[in-house]
């Protein structure tokens, strides 16, 4: 590895290895990006890291994700923006960290599965280790985007705080989530058959005039697929 010739070989191989991502498609069983992030930051056990690295050896898209995580971690470490554990931590503290991390990760996985089971109870949930784990299955492109129909340019009165959005095909059910601007969830409404929702005045009582709410709609189509809208803002008069 010391000679110039060998260095040139390695440079060429690295370029060739990276180039596989240019026209690649994700493989089956790609890990959750957060796990790649944690692996690069040495927040997983060596066994877990090995499993991910072995996947990146044959999956150019995940190898690309790994490089991105590595670049970000390396770039951010000196300023302390991202915990640059890879550089500063001793091996001992690192191993302690991953033990804690693995326990937290295990708890997070349990929580995530529970939440997904509740939140997306009408759609299949991908279990850990299966393709698409952590990602609900959404429809791609065959339905028009969900657009807000409530007036965005003027506040909505307290007694008629009605959120409206563009409707989907017949049989579509909607789920609405409303939150304050600092992301405290105010309400969730499930199983809505109409593309609108009148927020109860009582619910709005604690909030002063001028309060900005953000909201989002998830549409469940008759064929079992789903689509989530962007977030929209409505102001309380």
């Amino acid at each position: 590895m010391k000679s110039q010739e060998n260095e040139n070989d390695v440079r060429r191989w690295r370029e060739a290895f990276a180039s596989l991502a240019l026209d690649a498609r994700p493989a089956e069983g790609c890990p959750d990006p957060e796990r790649i992030w944690m692996a690069v930051r040495v927040e997983l056990s060596p066994g877990e890291v090995r499993e991910l690295v072995d996947h990146t050896a044959v999956c150019p898209v995940c190898a690309e994700a790994w490089r991105l995580a590595r670049e970000l971690t390396a770039e951010a470490s000196p300023a302390g923006e991202v915990h640059g554990a890879l550089i500063e931590r001793s091996a001992k503290s690192r191993r302690t960290a991953w033990r804690w991390g693995s326990m937290i990760a295990a708890a997070a996985v349990i929580m995530l599965v529970t939440v997904l089971s509740i939140q997306f109870d009408e759609s299949p949930v991908n279990l850990p280790g299966t393709p698409g784990f952590g990602t609900p299955q959404y429809r791609e492109g065959s339905e028009a985007d969900i657009r807000p129909l409530s007036p965005a340019d003027r506040p909505l009165p307290r007694d008629r705080f009605q959120l409206k959005w563009s409707s989907g095909p017949s049989g579509t059910r909607y789920q609405l989530q409303l939150a304050t601007a600092d992301l405290v969830v105010v309400l969730q409404a499930h199983g809505l058959e109409e593309p609108s929702y009148l927020v109860d005045e009582k619910t709005l009582q604690p909030f002063p005039s001028g309060t900005r709410f953000i909201w989002q709609v998830e549409a469940a189509y008759a064929d079992g697929t789903r689509r989530t809208s962007d977030t929209f803002v409505s102001v309380l008069k």
Binding site: A16, L20, V49, T135, T180, L183, Q216, D230
Partner: protein, 193 residues
């Protein structure tokens, strides 16, 4: 966050009120959005820059879902925001690659691959070698394959040892032997000229 309480509306459907009362939004949303925008800009490849607003929205919604289940105080450290931004970005990259929506010429911000657009012949040769590397890697014993994979991802030998739980000596040995195997394999395919 307030305890759950039930609410109802004109549709008669059950709703769940999760918070309200004395929690006021203030400017936190704007601040959070700004911080997320900065994180997304940092992680966003140039070819996805036009989508950065949408990615910020997606990251916000992901935080919102986390917030809902964690009953946290809504204060997010920079490292957490970076992780969310990274995760949203990778999901987007995967989705686009799955749909074949990433033109080659848009990916040249990577200096390592910059020559691929300027020199198609070189690009073609490089991909041929890349495919051979992947095939050769499958023939390596697992520890060497892991070591070489990380080395090709530009990790140093000490980093490889840390990541895989090996001491530096073992990591160096496995990288060295793995690269030697790779060279021989590529040579046997006529691709190490």
């Amino acid at each position: 966050m307030m305890p759950d309480s039930l609410d109802s509306n004109e549709t008669g459907k059950e709703t769940r009120t999760l918070a309200g009362a004395d929690e006021q939004p203030g400017d936190e949303y704007d601040e959070l959005r700004l911080r997320l925008s900065q994180a997304v800009r940092k992680v966003c490849p140039r070819w996805l820059a036009d989508e950065s607003d949408d990615l910020v929205q997606k990251a916000l919604m992901r935080l919102m879902k986390q917030r809902k289940k964690s009953e946290g105080n809504g204060k997010y450290g920079s490292s957490y925001l970076w992780r969310v931004a990274y995760s949203v970005m990778v999901d987007e990259i995967r989705a686009r690659r799955r749909r074949g929506e990433v033109p080659l010429e848009d990916q040249v911000e990577s200096s390592r691959l910059a020559g691929h657009v300027a020199n198609p012949e070189r690009a073609s040769r490089s991909r041929e070698i890349g495919g051979a590397i992947r095939d050769c890697m499958l023939s390596l014993v697992t520890p060497r394959r892991l070591a070489v994979t990380l080395y090709l991802q530009e990790h140093t030998v000490p980093e490889i040892g840390e990541l895989l739980g090996w001491d530096s000596k073992r990591a160096e040995n496995l990288v060295y032997r793995g690269l030697d195997n790779l060279r021989k394999c590529l040579t046997s395919k006529g691709l190490n000229q």
